[in-house]
Amino acid sequence: MNVRAALAAPLPALSLLAVELGAVVASLIGFAIFLAFEGASPGRVFVDMVDGAFGSWFSVQNSLSRAAPLMLTALCTAVPARLGMIIIGNEAALLMGGLGAATCSMVLPPTAAPWLALTLMLSAGALAGACWIAISGLLRQQRGVHETISSLLLFYIGLSLFLHCVEGPLRDPASLNKPGTPPLPEAHMLSGIGGSDVHYGIVFGLIACAICYVLLEHTSFGFSVRVTGGNLKAARLMGLPVTQLCLLVCALGGAAAGVAGAIEVAAIHGSANRALYAGLGFSGVLVAFVARQHPLAIIPVAVLLGGIQASGGVLQRRHGLPDAAVEVFKGILFISVLAAETYVLPAMTWAERKRQALATPTPPPAAEELLLPAAPEPGDIVEGVP
């Protein structure tokens, strides 16, 4: 198992770019073949997809609005990944965040100052998401439960809890055909930037990605996280507080996804209801992997994926393709990204790779012990530590 290869980014920038481009090209070819099977013309579909995603001011606004939550949910996978954990329960953190924000809005008086109400709502969302993902971290540290599985199980539990709350105890009796919490007062809604349809969520997304980048790459906290992700035993030998770090990165990621849920409620849906469960969390997992878990790379990837999502409507209207066609494309893209490194790198010339290998330090050895703490691998960096 080469976990590290997928989690950290040990490759130099140029090869990375080649890998990513290779993956995108491969997924476009794969999707084109799929479309050809379905009797659609791939060329025209692609042209229309670009048009639907970024062709007009309206579609750009649509794409950006869709990109905002993806940036935040992607952080839920990307931040814990730097510690070597694969968290994929982002969807549940988003739902919990939305539930937290809606509940907070119900408690607050409608006359509360908008900035205060929104701050409290977003904080409640962040707290709810953070707690939810931190459970996975706690289970892993205390009981050795694999975090990928526990986070997915927690997704099913969280989804049930969310639906139970918004269609049960917290349900607005007036919401008949679309059960949900009471609609947010106007003062609690997040408005568009400068009168456009792009809401302030995108600002939160950008700021969150930037904060996570600085935190992970330029602080001693981030260094500790990366050391732990690179080699758990070395981190323990150095006396790093591994459990606290683990809980912190989970909470940080969960908070980001929770804010995404709060923003979706406050800017789009206006109440917590079933519509919040729209796969934004799972798309965030995809964004994080395509961005190779790098907080800054998440931004362009999220915009790209937001565009792909936005073009789904065009596919439906102009080509009669079901909206799930976008899901198929995303799946192909995900698989291509995972496979790209192993196919693209050998294709690059030997000399090129050698030059890059000289220019950058060799990556630390694989971090198998993260998933299998009991079995040390021979050749680990720890073997050299007295």
């Binding site: 139970h164 698989i335 995972l338």
Partner: protein
């Protein structure tokens, strides 16, 4: 209908529900047991399950034969398992991530292919009326058993026997316990895992066929409530033993059918919360049985999940 039985209707309905709801768990967990015993984790079985369900439904609808649908689901599962195995055989590829990717891809593909299948009704698999001797309709209803369930029940000890005593079973376990030993004896680790993952996918596909062709017997996008994934963690609970998979699946089936049993007896509970019972049970069991200090008992050594 349960008035004659009173509260006895609850355990009876649970028995029937257990038999119905446990079958997908049984097939997916048996498949995943094979895959994991060869030293690999396939998290994509949730996607395989849905793809199996939709292919079975589509083939059954167009051909008129539900058994052809089961066969198609098996074939689809084999293919999806092969994709997983081929991707994972490459260097620098992360099994877990490939599993997640295939889960999302399989789900997306199943939803895409299933769009035209939401309305039409495909022929369902026949049920065997094992309770026809009884006069009570509730008993008869509870003992209507699908042949696939019986196949699964027979498959569990058969697989356990095959893993324990046959040459192929030994090779499979060998690659799971030590890649080096398998290589030294001249076996191709990747080829063994390819077959194990394909077979695991195929069995999961049958589990999906059961969902769409028998219970609930329709195709809808909310067909699976995580059975594929829950079955993967069930394998850890079952300690990689096919016989234990059978018992664990029955427990999960009972837990999953608790809600409908209570409802049929007139006890009002939130169906949303009851839908989370299997996932919550899994998490609880993992919380109790996992330990950070020692690898799980019976775990294949090359496996990096159940620790």
């Amino acid at each position: 209908m349960n008035e004659a039985l009173g509260l006895w209707g609850i355990p009876l309905a649970m028995l029937g529900g257990m038999i119905r709801a446990s079958t997908p768990y049984l097939f997916v967990s048996l498949g995943e047991t094979l895959t994991e015993r060869s030293g690999r984790v396939n998290l994509g079985l949730e996607g395989t399950l849905l793809l199996g369900a939709v292919s079975a439904y589509g083939v059954a609808f167009h051909s008129g034969s539900p058994w052809l649908g089961v066969l198609a689901a098996f074939g689809c599962g084999l293919g999806f398992g092969a994709v997983h195995a081929i991707l994972c055989a490459r260097p620098r590829v992360n099994h877990i991530a490939v599993g997640i990717a295939l889960m999302l891809f399989g789900t997306g593909l199943a939803f895409y292919l299933g769009k035209p299948l939401v309305q039409p009704q495909a022929p369902n698999l026949p049920a065997l009326g094992l309770g026809d001797w009884s006069d009570l309709p509730a008993v008869r209803e509870a003992l209507r058993v699908n042949p696939l369930f019986l196949v699964g029940v027979a498959l569990a000890p058969a697989l356990a026997w095959a893993l324990r005593t046959t040459r192929l079973g030994l090779i499979l376990r060998l690659t799971g316990e030590s890649e080096d030993a398998a290589l030294a004896l001249g076996y191709s680790v990747q080829r063994v895992r390819l077959f194990a993952t394909m077979l695991g996918g195929g069995l999961s596909g049958i589990g999906g066929a059961f969902l769409s062709l028998y219970y609930p017997g329709i195709w809808s996008e909310g067909l699976s409530s995580g059975q594929g994934l829950i079955a993967v963690s069930l394998v850890i609970f079952a300690r990689w033993n096919p016989n234990h998979c059978l018992y664990a699946s029955l427990i999960y089936g009972a837990a999953g059918s608790l809600g409908s049993a209570l409802q049929s007896a007139g006890v009002a509970v939130s169906h949303h919360l009851l839908a989370a019972t299997p996932a919550a049970l899994t998490l609880l069991i993992m919380f109790i049985t996992c330990s950070p200090d020692r690898p799980a008992q019976g775990a294949p050594r090359e496996l990096s999940l159940g620790t």
